[in-house]
């Protein structure tokens, strides 16, 4: 294929792949995704396949069904531990421990090098155990899932906010958005009213104020009322004085907002926000990270939109009389999105780092979740530090951060930013 038949995306991809560091980073990413997706099949105290009393089971698969309440455990499994069963035939996963299973024979932390109290080499803790008898290798595999999903949640939230605000700022600039006086007034009035009906009335679940359902329903109310206010405003806008257009310096406003968020000490704010969560959960902490770290995405998108809005095809779309929202979302935004990937790659790296910091400090993370950071925390709280608890999780954090930095760096070079 010659270069002139390539689309922009294909050309960028080719330039991206040409770097060796990027190819290694991509392999690392695929490997990490594989670990995260199949963590239960790779490290689990339940066997993949087993035969007891002539009956055949697939416990790992079944555990998914049990979680969904589509199936239930048969008799031997409910009374005995998995490791104590009398199997006639059994296939264990690669690591025969899960991140929550406790090896009662190796309770105090066991080094990977020393003699271990295990049945056979198959059950050896190749990377040792931590202070409570968790297998370090299993914790690393499951920690990959926590780290990656944490980064993804954070970046999803950050992208939603960053793309929306960046697109508005970049497309309209300071002189592109005109609203009628009544529309401004109604929008300002509708906001507190929307907050009130979304979050302040009895139908808002007060017992789970941070539940996903409650928050999204509340936001839906807010959006609905804002929408209603705009429709009303259009109707009232026919009155000449009320309908007079005002220039909204949206670019300056959003830039100020970005400046504000940039001067917030992120880690401190996340720490203090995570500390007040009633039920610590890494996903909440991640959503908070997303709420704060959207500025990089917004800034990149704004710059890109500023360039795109000068292009002729946008002018053509405006001349055709398309609505401005259609131009923004259908025509301008798709072309402005690729550079956002750069910010997302770097953002993943810093989100993983923040997640690790939170678990190292033990703030905002449920106490029983075993993650990369929680293994490291055991080091800083004991007087006799174990090297295997420091090195392996640290390397996992280091390599994943390095990987996303390489991806971000490669992307920005490929797009020539």
């Amino acid at each position: 294929m010659t270069t002139d038949t390539l689309t922009y995306q294909q050309a960028v991809w080719q330039r991206f792949r040409r770097r060796r560091s990027v190819r290694w980073a991509l392999r690392g990413l695929y490997f990490g995704l594989f670990l995260a997706l199949f963590a239960d099949f790779l490290a689990n105290d339940k066997p993949l396949f087993c035969q007891i009393n002539g009956k055949i089971y697939f416990p790992v698969v079944q555990s998914y069904l049990v979680q969904l309440a589509w199936s239930h455990w048969d008799d031997p499994f409910t009374t005995e531990e998995w490791s104590e069963q009398k199997y006639t035939r059994v296939w264990y996963p690669l690591i025969p421990y899960s991140n929550t299973s406790i090896d009662h024979h190796n309770l105090s932390s066991t080094s990977p090098l020393e003699e271990q109290n295990v049945v056979s080499w198959r059950f050896r803790h190749w990377l040792g155990t931590d202070g409570v008898g968790h297998d370090v290798a299993a914790a690393l595999v499951h920690g990959t899932r926590t780290a990656l999903s944490a980064g993804m949640v954070a970046m999803l939230v950050a992208s939603l906010i960053g793309i929306f605000l960046g697109a508005l700022a970049g497309y309209f600039g300071d002189d592109g958005l005109y609203l009628s006086r009544i529309q401004v007034v109604f929008n300002l009035l509708a906001f507190p009213i929307g907050i009130f009906y979304g979050f302040g009335t009895p139908h808002y679940p007060a017992d789970a104020p941070l539940g996903v359902l409650g928050v999204s329903l509340g936001l839906l109310w807010l959006l609905g009322i804002q929408f209603l206010a705009n429709i009303l405003a259009i109707a009232f806008g026919r009155i000449p004085w009320l309908g007079k257009k005002m220039r909204i310096p949206i670019d300056s406003l959003i830039n100020r907002l970005i400046e504000v968020f940039d001067s917030v000490p992120t880690l401190l704010l996340i720490l203090s926000m995570a500390a007040i969560l009633a039920r610590p959960n890494i996903l909440y902490a991640m959503a908070i990270i997303g709420l704060i770290s959207w500025t990089g995405i917004a800034r990149l998108l704004r710059a890109e939109m500023l360039k795109i809005r000068q292009l002729q095809y946008i002018e053509a779309a405006q001349a055709l009389g398309y609505s401005r929202w259609r131009i923004i979302f259908r025509h301008a935004l798709p072309n402005a999105l690729p550079p956002v990937l750069i910010a997302i790659a770097f953002g993943m790296a810093s989100a993983i780092l923040i997640e690790a910091s939170l678990s190292v400090l033990g703030i905002g993370v449920a106490a029983d979740t075993v993650t990369w950071g929680s293994l490291l925390r055991q080091i800083s709280t004991t007087y006799h530090p174990e090297w295997w608890l420091a090195i392996f999780p640290g390397l996992a954090i280091f390599f994943s951060v390095l990987l996303f930095n390489y991806l971000g760096d490669g992307l920005s070079r490929a797009m020539d930013k």
Partner: protein, 470 residues
């Protein structure tokens, strides 16, 4: 220039306001009753006169200014009275709030609660002759009721109360009036609902005498409030901590620039040679190394006796006599600061060096460098006199980006190495739910970040006069 500074300082105002909203809002959401945290003994005094307990509580609350409205105004359902904030006890306010959410009629809710308190007082005032197993349990039931918010549950507990009283006719007779009153008020609460009032928003204006206003004015005057844990002024705690944090951060930034700039220049001069590749790889790796991990690894390395490398006293800043000046403390503790400073330095070092290399390459590509070379200027002069000076400009702005990330890094490094700085203070305060300290640290961190950005902008404007013109 002055105009430029003035304009930049003006931008501080909205930023500070937003951050103060964040800090103050979080403080409101934080769990636990601050008065109870400050006054742990107050919680245990369940016996004794109810009014005395309330008075003691209110006194502490007044000290923390919890008896004032939270903000200048509030937008809530019209079912809430204007004076809802006067219910200072947090748990009680939440209970009443939840009951009101099921009824909408504030008068009924407050009458019900008053009748409950009257019953509580009556039980406490029982003559000695009537006290016994039943009265103690009755008192416990009444206590439970005061924190019960769900109407069906209240119903069950009122029934239970009456059943318990029925077992002891004498007790029931002496508590007849308040019990009947409670039942009556509870019935009214259930029947006289005004749900519509919960769906009607209302705006209530409280004026300047509110918690937020007092807090902000206090902050501006340098009074950051009182610690919940020991009642000490937050300002004193922060002053000592700020010294340590600034010390290690400023020192680290200085070191980072000191080493990064020659390294960047060297890498740029050896562009695409093996030296550049090796330096580039190591810088990239250093940048990705989490500082808290390095801190922990160093800790392991220097504290494990088997490794025989205990020449750094790693943990803890030694306590000196009270009167020791900061300088004396510094001299005594310099050995403790070496490792933390290393941990904070290398990340920024890697970042600055990479940027320096890029800036240097860009400058070396320009026409005036070619001219300088063409007229036969020696290479060291071209590099250091012409290219280096110009490449140094963008390094100034990096300061604004590095300073905040370094402050964040120092939170973890301080807590690993046990340095009594802002980070350790904040983490300790989070653990103890000492929110005034946490949010004061948050505000100061924001101010420091903004000052850092301002400082780098001013330096840049000073170095490049074109900036302030625009």
């Amino acid at each position: 220039m002055l105009q430029y500074i003035a304009r930049r300082l003006l931008l501080f105002v909205p930023t500070l306001i937003v951050i103060s909203f964040m800090a103050f809002g979080l403080r409101q959401l934080a769990p636990g009753d601050p008065v109870d945290t400050l006054n742990k003994s107050g919680k245990g005094e369940m016996t004794g006169d109810l009014a005395t307990i309330e008075r003691a509580y209110l006194e502490k609350a007044r000290l923390l200014q919890m008896d004032k409205p939270t903000f200048y105004f509030v937008i809530n359902a019209s079912a809430y009275p204007d004076t809802f904030f006067r219910i200072v006890q947090r748990a009680r306010r939440q209970t009443l709030d939840a009951i009101l959410q099921q009824s909408g009629n504030w008068a009924a809710v407050s009458h019900y609660f008053t009748s409950l308190q009257q019953l509580d007082q009556a039980v406490r005032n029982l003559p000695i002759s009537l006290r016994g197993e039943t009265s103690v349990q009755t008192q416990r039931n009444v206590q439970d009721l005061q924190f019960t918010a769900q109407i069906p549950l209240i119903k069950k507990r009122v029934e239970l109360l009456k059943k318990r009283l029925a077992t002891n006719p004498k007790l029931a007779a002496s508590l007849k009036q308040p019990t009947a009153n409670l039942q009556q008020q509870f019935d009214l609460l259930q029947t006289q609902t005004q749900f519509w009032r919960l769906y009607l928003p209302s705006f209530k204006w409280y004026g300047l005498d509110n918690q937020y206003h007092h807090w902000v004015v206090g902050c501006l005057k340098g009074n950051l409030g009182i610690s919940y844990v020991d009642g000490q002024p937050v300002t004193d705690k922060i002053k000592a901590a700020l010294n340590w944090t600034l010390l290690i951060n400023v020192f680290s930034i200085f070191l980072a620039y000191l080493f990064a700039i020659p390294l960047g220049v060297y890498a740029a001069r050896r562009k695409d040679r093996w030296q550049d590749r090796v330096i580039g790889f190591f810088l990239f790796a250093l940048f990705a190394l989490p500082s808290f991990w390095v801190a922990i690894m160093l800790l392991v390395l220097f504290t494990t006796p088997e490794l025989g490398m205990q020449f750094f006293t790693v943990t803890g800043i030694s306590d000196l006599a009270e009167g020791a000046t900061f300088g004396e403390r510094f001299a005594a503790n310099i050995r403790h600061l070496i490792l933390p400073v290393i941990c904070l330095t290398y990340g920024s070092l890697a970042y600055i060096a990479r940027q320096m290399r890029g800036a240097m390459l860009q400058t070396l590509d320009q026409d005036f460098i070619r001219t300088a070379r063409a007229k036969g200027m020696p290479e060291w002069k071209v590099i250091w006199r012409h290219a280096f000076r110009n490449a140094l400009f963008p390094m100034i702005t990096l300061f604004g980006a590095i300073f905040p990330s370094m402050l964040a890094g120092s939170i973890l490094v301080e807590s690993v190495f046990n340095i009594p700085g802002m980070g350790k203070l904040a983490i300790g305060a989070i653990g103890q739910q000492d929110w005034p300290v946490v949010y004061a640290v948050l505000m100061i961190g924001a101010v420091l970040t903004m000052l850092g950005i301002l400082f780098s902008d001013l330096l840049y404007a000073w170095a490049d006069p074109r900036i302030s013109a625009t």
